[in-house]
């Protein structure tokens, strides 16, 4: 277990600016959060964070149990058990490694284990590929994981601190996966503000498992077999925890801004030039960067385009998103994932947003795009093409049910 060093209050201590990757930013946050147990098993691009944590431990900045497992299944099992005995835990994986841990991924939400994981988003095999696709993390979207996407190293650091605050809140106690796009975020270094430990201690309380703590002084049985007389009640509890997470996330971001003096007012999604936007594009992760560039270019030519970058996918910010999107004349949802055989063959995000808008008073025409799979760069041309199609739909006032694949050789 990590030894907690009670740093003397040092409000005057300033943030340090470091040139670090998204993965290194996560490791900085874990050090500040005084992590207890971390498990590791290498797979690119997640392995960058496991290396960064190892460095922190070997450098003496972090005192934590670092366990190299023999595979992802054990990796997630070990932290699951460590969390039930009261340890603050971290692990992570990518692509098919995350899939290999699937059994453990589905048991952590009902057991109410607040593990925080980094998913370095990677295409699922086959073909073996390192590049980003969001399907790996999205696979757990129905089972009770809190899911968020980030797009900068700074957000990686901040979100990791917020993640523990949210997941370890007694009202929530759910596992949380932070998704970071392979390569663009995990392997790319940017200037990042690292706060002093004293500030983090003001923001992040110790993990207290309370009456669920597996300890000789609190004799309990965890995870007994149950039949149909119990399961739906357990699912109902899980659903309630996910619903309560909404308030807890909003509280956490507000408190984060109070303590650190930065961070978004709207935790759920970033709105970029949406105030007067005729067309709003929607995406998750680093796809935001080429889209923002394209938006600026298009705005220079008189096209009022905006971006909504979704941070939180679970819980899904339905009402807020509907309010933000329904004012546009057309919507273009750009998925860096696929859902073969889904309604309209759309990606996961597009279909979630379609469902969210179903009861909205105003439903703008919605177009669905699949782009950047397997880590292919999203180009400005891809974004221009998507925007043009959106404008055509805005003019006709009709949704185009077809899903457009962008940047495919054809």
């Amino acid at each position: 277990m990590a030894v907690v060093t009670q740093a003397a209050p040092a409000a005057h201590e300033a943030d340090k600016e470091l040139l670090i990757s998204g993965s290194e930013a996560v490791a900085e946050a874990l050090t500040l959060a005084d992590l207890d147990v971390v498990t590791a098993y290498p797979i690119r691009p997640y392995d960058t964070v496991m290396q960064a944590i190892a460095k922190k431990i070997s450098g003496g900045q972090l005192v934590a149990e670092y366990i190299v497992a023999e595979g992802e299944h054990s990796q997630f099992e070990i932290v699951k058990h460590a969390s039930t005995v009261g340890a603050r835990v971290f692990c992570g994986s990518s692509g098919v490694g995350w899939m290999y841990a699937m059994e453990c991924l589905v048991v952590t939400p009902p057991l109410r284990v607040p593990m925080v994981a980094l998913v370095g988003n990677r295409a699922l095999d086959d073909p073996g590929a390192f590049g980003v696709e969001h399907n790996d993390a999205l696979v757990v979207r129905d089972v009770g994981w809190l899911l968020c996407w980030i797009d900068t190293s700074q957000e990686a650091l901040d979100t990791t601190l917020i993640a523990y605050r949210v997941a370890e809140d007694r009202r929530v106690f759910l596992p949380l996966a932070i998704s970071a796009d392979g390569a663009f975020l995990t392997h790319s270094q940017a200037l990042t503000m690292v706060p002093p430990k004293a500030k983090v201690d003001q923001f992040l309380p110790r993990y207290n498992r309370g009456d669920l703590l597996l300890h000789p002084d609190n004799p309990i049985t965890v995870a007994p077999q149950a039949n149909e007389d119990w399961v739906i009640e357990i699912r109902r509890q899980n659903n309630e925890a996910m619903a309560r997470a909404v308030t807890v996330i909003e509280e956490a971001y507000a408190d984060f801004r109070r303590v650190f003096g930065r961070g978004p007012e709207n935790p759920w999604f970033e709105e970029y030039m949406t105030d007067d936007a005729e067309v709003i594009l929607v995406g998750m992760g680093t796809i935001s960067l080429p889209i923002k560039v394209a938006i600026r270019e298009m705005r220079a030519k008189g096209k009022k385009v905006g971006l909504v970058r979704l941070r939180w996918f679970r819980p899904f910010p339905t009402e807020r998103l509907v309010a933000a999107l329904s004012k546009a004349q057309a919507l273009g949802i750009i998925d860096r994932d696929y859902s073969f055989g889904s309604p309209f063959g759309s990606g996961v995000v597009a279909n979630e947003i379609r469902a969210a808008l179903y009861n909205a008073d105003r439903r703008p025409p919605l177009l669905s795009f699949i782009c950047g799979l397997g880590g292919r760069e999203v180009t400005l041309e891809d974004v221009y093409k998507a925007t043009d199609l959106c404008y055509a739909a805005a003019t006709s006032g009709k949704s185009d049910p077809k899903t457009h694949w962008l940047g495919v050789r054809e």
């Binding site: 057991l111 284990v113 669920l212 309990i220 995870a223 039949n227 007389d229 309630e240």
Partner: protein, 402 residues
């Protein structure tokens, strides 16, 4: 009646195949008169565990639509006929699929029938069978409980005798001709089995049971908590540690109040506290921790916790100190040690009568001798079910062989 709903209450492993043959036999017999039917086991049961009460069901109906009303269920809400293939189930059942003690006649409809294989008298059985708030019929087929294994089947004709008896109980759904035809066509059927079914049809004994009759004990029950009352995290509190029996001496472990398990028992240990050498073996070896340590250092098998596995008898080094006796000869779960402490002489008389009963001390299950089933079959055919007592008794009582 447009549908006939039957349940077969049986004991895990020992009667799993028997119950399946009976329920399948009901459906296939009713099919002979054009009926539709389904046969299924209660999914939450654990029929691969020795002796644990479990249920199979057969539902036959005039039309497919009527049948559908009873499909996609774990257990019917009520049954026209309850078939109990071991009379020790008359004390009630507690299975993996059920919380609390379920009286054997709980699902039986008013004026329905409880059919049992038993050699006990009606009155003796009604000491065990819980009172019901409606009259019903108790039908007895004279036979001892047919116990075999998961991979072996005891061809003692119990399945066809039940089917023959059912043709008497519900003739509008199962004609005797239909039953005989279905038996003949079955892979396990024979002309001899058809004869057995016919004899059972003749010999079934039935008696009306009034609302006032039966065991007045209130079965222990368990109220299911609401979702917000349950501890989160699929977590349940542990059973606390136990306490001394009395005056700081002895030890009684706390036990799960919601799952007692004693209805799994078909035999129970009877203990001679005078010859006990306090060696601890029964206490240590009992897989269910059912022994309480008494202040004098002897061990009392707690009858609310004992599954009747017989391990204590097998490990006890003292001859006749622990003897397994058939559950049917007991009427309650009272402490043997308390009875012994109260009146040692009276306890000796009681104990001697129980362990000296040659019929009751023959093991309820397990292989005894080659040709045993054939002998039992012969007796069943000739006498309408006469108990066979010969054979190998419990492992630790060589002198009990008849």
């Amino acid at each position: 009646m447009a549908a006939l709903i039957c349940e077969v209450v049986y004991r895990g492993i020992f009667q799993k195949n028997l119950a399946a043959r009976i329920t399948r036999g009901i459906v296939l017999s009713a099919r002979k008169s054009g009926r539709w039917g389904i046969a299924f086991g209660r999914y939450g049961d654990s029929p691969q565990r020795n002796g644990i009460p479990a249920k199979d069901f057969a539902i036959v109906a005039d039309t497919k639509e009527e049948l559908e009303q009873n499909m996609a269920r774990y257990e019917p809400k009520h049954v026209d006929v309850t078939i109990a293939v071991d009379d020790t189930l008359s004390k009630g059942v507690e299975s993996w699929a059920w919380y609390g003690l379920q009286p054997i006649n709980r699902l039986t409809v008013p004026n329905g029938t409880l059919l049992m294989t038993s050699l006990q008298s009606f009155d003796s059985l009604l000491k065990d069978i819980h009172k019901k708030d409606a009259p019903y019929k108790l039908a007895l087929l004279r036979a001892k409980a047919s116990f075999s294994g998961l991979w072996v089947y005891r061809e003692d004709h119990t399945e066809v005798r039940i089917l023959g008896a059912l043709a008497k109980i519900a003739p509008s759904f199962l004609s005797l001709d239909g039953v005989c035809q279905a038996i003949r066509e079955s892979e396990w059927g024979s002309d001899l089995k058809v004869e057995s079914a016919k004899k059972a049809h003749e010999r079934i004994e039935t008696r009306e049971v009034k609302m006032t009759e039966g065991n007045t004990e209130i079965p222990y029950s368990f109220e299911m908590p609401k979702w917000w009352e349950m501890r989160e995290g699929v977590t349940i509190p542990a059973i606390p540690v136990g306490k001394p029996k009395e005056a700081g001496k002895g030890y009684v472990p706390e036990r799960n109040p919601y799952f007692k398990k004693f209805t799994t028992r078909t035999m129970r240990p009877v203990i001679d506290f005078d010859t006990c050498v306090k060696c601890t073996l029964c206490w240590i070896q009992c897989p269910d921790s059912c022994f309480d340590v008494m202040p004098d250092g002897t061990y009392d098998a707690n009858m609310e916790a004992c599954c009747g596995c017989g391990v204590c008898e097998a490990v006890c080094p003292v001859e006749h100190c622990i003897t397994m006796v058939n559950e049917s000869v007991f009427d309650d779960n009272a402490s043997q040690w308390e009875a012994w402490r109260k009146d040692k002489g009276a306890y000796k008389v009681w104990m001697t009568s129980k362990i000296g009963d040659k019929k009751a001390t023959v093991r309820s299950h397990g292989f005894r001798f080659r040709g045993q089933y054939e002998k039992e079959l012969e007796a069943n055919l000739e006498g309408g079910g006469v108990e066979i007592t010969a054979g190998i008794p419990g492992e630790n009582a060589q002198h009990k062989t008849v």
